[in-house]
Symmetry: C2
């Protein structure tokens, strides 16, 4: 080893030891007769001292070292006269006796500091330098710890880590596949998995009963800020279970992660029906770190002469506690907020319940004080509170108010990233209507089982059918989801029929799974957690990119290695492919 210790481990009891350290020059300072160098590695920083009087050649050599040079130093551990209590190694320093330059460094294009001066693109191009910075190093360490903690928990629960294939089959259901041309079978293709869904179900058919994998998945989607073409899932499946068994198991895992990785005890997770989540929070992933539940007002607000409310399918509001002193300008900002195209409300009605008990409202002329008091009472509002009301089509207005609720949560500082409020949302609809293609899609995926008592509705009112499907939501972020699966050929066939597959199409694409269901498939279900996302949530960040060692940019490009890129004609010829150029 080119070191006896790391740069993070020496302490007072090590004084007088002769040690060898290796690492990077973080910074150096010349102070008259002395030169100080902060030597950095993954484990910390240790101060090196070079004395001009006693070791002048060595000191001169040290003064030539640039930032990010890699050096090996031999020396003696000494107590610092000027201790630094902020550094774990701050009580000691190394009196250097010898240095070896292991490698030089050009001046980095940005500073290797917690707050760097480098822009995002530059840091992506030099990702190997960005990864040297503390925040990213901590992110990688957190991710490692999340992974090994997850694995050991599931191992102890009897789960087998079983690898499923990456070269699988393209199926048009779901998102767009990345495909991989086959050379051995000309004109045929593999696809990269969007998830190991069918394989993990086959493992249940095969009797493995508790399966997990931390696995890469691939989706060729147009990328939003926080999406990656390749992402990682904690993918799990269990047989001989009912929904509650799965919720209990993975609530256990999540609580264990909070405890082991964050040192945080989290209460039992509440469970909320999808319909209540929409009704009270306007979202299928409510942030329940704060309450501010929706209050419906149709009976109180309609038939008072205010045409906008009278024409609305739903009048619904929230109580922003203590904000009655919002100014005209602040209220206008809120109106502008709900009118943004991505929110889409037409306007915002407010009722200020002033500290003196009086009411001011943007709809004063339609509602007398008694009306306003009745409304305020329904919100359990107190003097000093601000009631905000939207109206319109039920589904739309709920989503709009859900956005406003989050905005008010931010303004009231109710969304502390160090507080964790997990929640199971259950009883999702089985199907969702796809306006564009005028057909139903599986809300979760086509293998999700409908609730037994709702199966009859499949024919009469498909949108009403509830699924045995659930999501884990933490702080308003969807961490993962899953379902109890169909394990019966006939029901699976029926499901495909309702999704618009002919029997032939269903058999061609998923015949292997439906065939498997005929050979003793046990009842089973599972979940998949977004590993990038749960890690970034644990890290207190809402960007997954910092928690991925080598992420792609928003164009799906790795700017460091410069890919995707062209391949040779020889490669294309072997695959029997031609590139189509755009016609100008």
């Amino acid at each position: 080893m080119l070191r006896t210790h790391t740069c993070g481990e020496l302490r007072i009891p090590d004084i007088d030891k002769t040690v060898k350290l290796s690492g990077w020059v973080q910074r150096s300072r010349d102070m008259g007769g002395m030169t100080f160098i902060d030597l950095r590695d993954r484990y910390g920083i240790t101060q090196l001292v070079f004395n001009m009087e006693t070791h002048s050649e060595l000191c001169k050599q040290a003064r030539k070292l640039g930032r990010e040079y890699v050096i090996q130093v031999e020396g003696i551990v000494a107590e610092r006269s000027n201790k630094n209590s902020k550094m774990p190694t701050g009580d000691i320093e190394i009196t250097a006796e010898k240095i070896v330059v292991l490698n030089q460094s050009k001046l980095p294009p940005f500073t290797i500091e917690d707050d760097t001066d480098g822009g995002e693109e530059l840091r992506m191009k030099y990702r190997y330098l960005d990864l040297r910075r503390n925040p990213l190093r901590k992110a990688m360490e957190l991710r490692h710890k999340m992974a090994i903690t997850t694995r050991n928990y599931l191992d102890k629960q009897g789960f087998f880590d079983i690898e499923t294939p990456y070269l699988i089959k393209s199926t048009p259901e779901g998102a767009r596949d990345f495909i991989v041309p086959s050379r051995m079978s000309s004109n045929q293709f593999y696809a990269l998995p969007q998830s190991p869904q069918t394989f993990k179900q086959l493992l249940m058919v095969a009797g493995y009963d508790r399966y997990y994998q931390i696995v890469k998945c691939f989706r060729d989607e147009d990328l939003r800020a926080d999406r990656q073409p390749e992402f990682t899932q904690i993918d799990c499946e269990m047989a001989f279970v009912e929904q509650d068994d799965i919720l209990d198991m993975f609530e256990g895992l999540t609580r264990h992660l909070f405890k082991e990785v964050k040192g945080v005890d989290v209460d039992q997770f509440p469970r909320m029906e999808y319909s209540d989540a929409m009704k009270y929070y306007g979202s299928d992933k409510p942030d329940i770190r704060f309450d501010m539940r929706f209050v419906e007002l149709n009976d109180l607000a309609q038939n008072k002469g205010f045409a906008i409310f009278d024409q609305a399918e739903l009048v619904v509001g929230i109580n922003a506690v203590g904000l009655a002193d919002y100014s005209r300008k602040q209220l206008d900002q809120l109106t502008d907020f709900v009118r943004k195209p991505q929110i889409g409300a037409k306007g915002l009605v407010y009722i200020k319940y002033d500290a003196d008990g009086s009411f001011k409202s943007s709809v004063d002329k339609f509602y007398n004080t008694e009306d306003l008091q009745t409304i305020a009472n329904r919100f359990e509002a107190k003097p000093g509170d601000l009631i905000l009301i939207l109206s319109g089509e039920t589904d739309k207005v709920r989503k709009q108010l859900g956005n406003l609720r989050l905005e008010m949560g931010n303004r009231l500082e109710l969304r502390n990233p160090n507080i964790f409020a997990p929640l199971w949302v259950v009883d999702f609809p089985l199907l969702e209507w796809d306006e564009e293609n005028s057909r139903f899609h599986a809300m979760h995926h086509p293998f999700t089982s409908p609730k037994q008592e709702d199966i009859a509705l499949l024919e009469s009112d498909p949108a009403k059918v509830r699924a045995n499907a659930y999501d884990l939501v933490i702080n308003g972020v969807e961490i993962g989801g899953g379902s109890i699966r169909i394990h019966n050929r006939e029901l699976q066939k029926l499901m495909f029929k309702h999704l618009g597959f002919t029997d032939e199409e269903a058999q061609a694409q998923f015949g292997f799974l439906m065939d498997a269901f005929e050979y003793g498939a046990p009842p089973h279900g599972g979940v998949a957690f977004g590993f990038d996302r749960i890690t970034s949530l644990f890290g207190g960040s809402d960007s997954i990119r910092d928690y991925i060692a080598f992420p792609k940019n928003n164009s799906g490009r790795d700017v460091m290695i410069d890919t995707p890129s062209q391949v040779s004609q020889v490669q294309l010829d072997e695959l029997m492919l031609n590139i189509v150029k755009f016609k100008k």
Copy 2:
């Protein structure tokens, strides 16, 4: 849960408990008034008893259950009158009170038994049924245990599990890439990684210092029996190390696996130079479970009038201890063996050192008894031994004799799969001559560092340059290998030059890595173990396929899901690709 216990856990102390089990009907037997069913799950088999006298309806129901039906049974644990000591649950049975058929099963296309009647293709098509068989279940369990044991060992040693990307860049060096067309960047492609080599080196540049990953790798090669287009590596890299540090670390891992997974203590691994491995075993992966080292005979065998030996570059043999009584027919079989095209020897010379001390040889007329005795002495042969000698070009004859040595090892039953003889082979050549393309290839890969003292030979005698490269060999199987890497731009450039890259080509393909070397790259090195292979070796098998849940066949095809397959024209159009059809 649809069970209170698994089918593997009930014992005498559980007697009189009311339990619920779920599983598959392994077999059923009607014995007059009783019906017995063996119920199977991942954990074992438990006998169920149905009594026609006391529960006639239930018993009739049980008699209708077919093989592989999935049932749930409620009943009471009872002591067996007729205990079966071969089964862990053989002391008890369940007196059934109630059964629920969870799913029916068609008659499986082959028997779900340790020795099945199904052929390989049929079992591949119904892999989910084949995976129910004990040998495969044990293989999956072994693989899981190997993985979690590896992870915990490396975690304790300070390694971070860091995921590297799967959508990377195609480079023509090495094997053929699978490529993935990009939709967002038309006419450009990703490639699937043949290994995370460059990324793990960049992680060392980034200061992570101890990295590992159990990771899928991809090679689009024509498949031999024991190759898969996607395979799994234990991939590791360390910084601030020298070769011995890496050998010690991963010898530690391997010994830990032997101890934890197999309960076997293995001695320290010997280390053998590549040149010695070739000289004494004719292979860079010698099976050292048995000795039978090569003995060179040029000085003794040449110039005695036997033209074949006189013209040979090398005359070399082995001593097959105790086989002097081989018959003419057996000797002819050996001659046929070495003459097989895949071995390629022209003939075989034998010397029988008979039990009575006399010699018989196929070349009696050229060598007198004294000559033969001298040769036998060099082999340290004893009466009763059989000496086998080949001759020819040095490299070829060594490989031929290496094959014959393994054959004799088999015949002498010296290759017990339950004995493990690991070995480090070190000091591999840096380059190997590629006859077909008249150029040198990197024997390991282009990032392997030459030995410092051999660098001067790069210009004068490239084939003589030794690398800081090493392989772990167990029982003659290459488990993995690695090297100390180049960490300096100039040396990497020189290496690419010797591999026939222009500076421009090197920069275009590996510029990101060479650039990284200029920003403080530490000395580093690593290894990669073939995870499929080490697992199958631990399982006592030489076929990796049984240790992969969903393998491809020799045409790279998954016959269960039927892929690769055609994709839609819409998909190809989005990717701006055209298929080229063969012209007849």
